[in-house]
């Protein structure tokens, strides 16, 4: 069961903050939904800096980032 973070409708830096809170809980995988390229890039950077792997799916006009820890 993955952790869901729905950051659609939030502007930066809220998606980053919501992702960070999920990362702190340490439950993986985490799925983050964002609407903008900016949010996608910032969330990706946050997860990668936390030592996680990130894959991105483009779903319509949204992005789903799947964050996993090895």
């Amino acid at each position: 069961m993955s952790v869901q973070v729905d950051a659609r409708g939030f502007s930066c830096p809220q998606p980053v903050i919501l992702t960070r809170k999920a990362l702190e809980k340490g439950q993986f995988p985490i799925e983050v939904l964002v609407e903008t390229v900016t949010s996608r890039e910032n969330v990706r950077r946050v997860a990668e800096k936390a030592g996680c792997r990130v894959s991105v799916e483009e779903v319509g006009n949204e992005f789903k980032l799947i964050i996993t820890k090895e």
Binding site: S11, C12, P13, Q14, V16, I17, R20, T36, V37, T38, E41, N42, R45, V46, K49
Partner: protein
């Protein structure tokens, strides 16, 4: 600004020294051989919680364009919008913050206009004066000049972190004091010697405003990242990716003109695209002027940093 250029033709207004054809920080209109007036306006929604500080910041920010043109502030009018049910004491605190800042600038607020609006807004329409031969435009930087900056960077990311409840109150306090600080002393220090170009660093970020200077001057501006001053906390919040949306909008608009040294990480690059509010002046001057300028700054308790230089070419380089 295009519709203005369709209606007003520069050639018809020989006394309009700065305005239509080449936009700058403010409009400048010659009254006679000794006096030109500088006209500018700016207002925005609250960016800090304290109403007095908000008023002072909005006023300092509005007057900054006069200083960026090398002028002094003479007269200002309030521009405000407040919700009909807003607490009178808060409104008074905002207006007092602005009024005391204009008084500190040596100017006077002689009136203004307020409308009802759901979201508070405050700022000024400002008139300043400058000698027509001493106008500081963005377009005068020359290869060989050096670049000085008169406030540290980072208030944009610090206030964003604050809105996200992620900022250290001590960092917010330093940023607030910086935004409240007038660019008056920096402009006076500049007018005490020779200068070639100036602008103030606000919403388009250091790199956006620097690019305008580079473009209008027909030269390349080169910054040394390690020489750029930052407020405490700014780099830390950048590492945490707490950027406002405006940082990426500026990046999208200007990155094609900016070359970064490959060792500068993404977060530090984006920090230089992050909008500033009531930032310092960026001044281009001949290298021989620096010592005198820094001495005049020191006399006035004004800080300044040597952050780069101007070379042949176009665009921006960050080393």
């Amino acid at each position: 600004m295009r519709p203005l250029k369709e209606i007003f033709h520069e050639a018809d207004y020989p006394d309009l020294l700065v305005g239509l054809e080449v936009a700058d920080d403010a409009a400048v209109y010659r009254i006679n051989d000794d006096v030109a007036v500088i006209q500018t306006t700016d207002f925005f929604t609250p960016i800090v919680d304290d109403p007095y500080a908000y008023g002072a910041i909005a006023a300092a920010n509005a007057m900054s364009d006069v200083y960026a043109m090398g002028g002094q502030v003479v007269l200002a009018l309030n521009i405000a919008a407040f919700p009909a049910d807003m607490d009178e004491a808060i409104i008074r605190a905002i207006l007092r913050g602005g009024a005391e800042k204009v008084k500190e600038a040596g100017g006077v607020i002689a009136g203004g206009h307020t409308i009802d609006d759901e979201e508070p807004k405050y700022g000024l329409a400002v008139m300043g004066i400058v000698h027509p031969d001493r106008i500081a435009t963005k377009g005068g930087a020359r290869p060989g000049d050096v670049l000085l900056l008169t406030k540290p960077l980072g208030v944009g990311i610090i206030t964003t972190a604050f809105k996200a409840d992620a900022a250290d109150p001590a960092h917010v306090e330093v940023a607030t004091q910086s935004m409240m600080q007038l660019n008056k002393r920096a402009a006076e220090a500049m007018q005490g010697g020779e200068f070639h170009a100036a602008t103030d660093i606000t919403g388009f970020s250091l790199l956006g405003h620097a690019y305008e200077m580079a473009e209008k001057s027909g030269a390349r501006l080169r910054f040394r990242f390690d020489d750029l001053p930052f407020h405490p906390g700014a780099k830390e919040y950048a590492e945490l990716l707490l950027f406002p949306g405006g940082a990426n909008r500026n990046k999208a608009a200007y990155e094609q003109h900016v070359h970064f040294a490959p060792y500068l990480e993404y977060e530090m690059q984006l920090l230089l695209f992050t909008p500033e509010t009531s930032g310092g002046l960026l001044i281009a001057m001949p290298p021989g002027e620096v010592e005198g300028f820094l001495a005049r700054c020191a006399e006035r308790g004004q800080k300044a940093w040597l952050v780069g230089d101007v070379v042949e070419g176009a665009g921006i380089e960050v080393l």
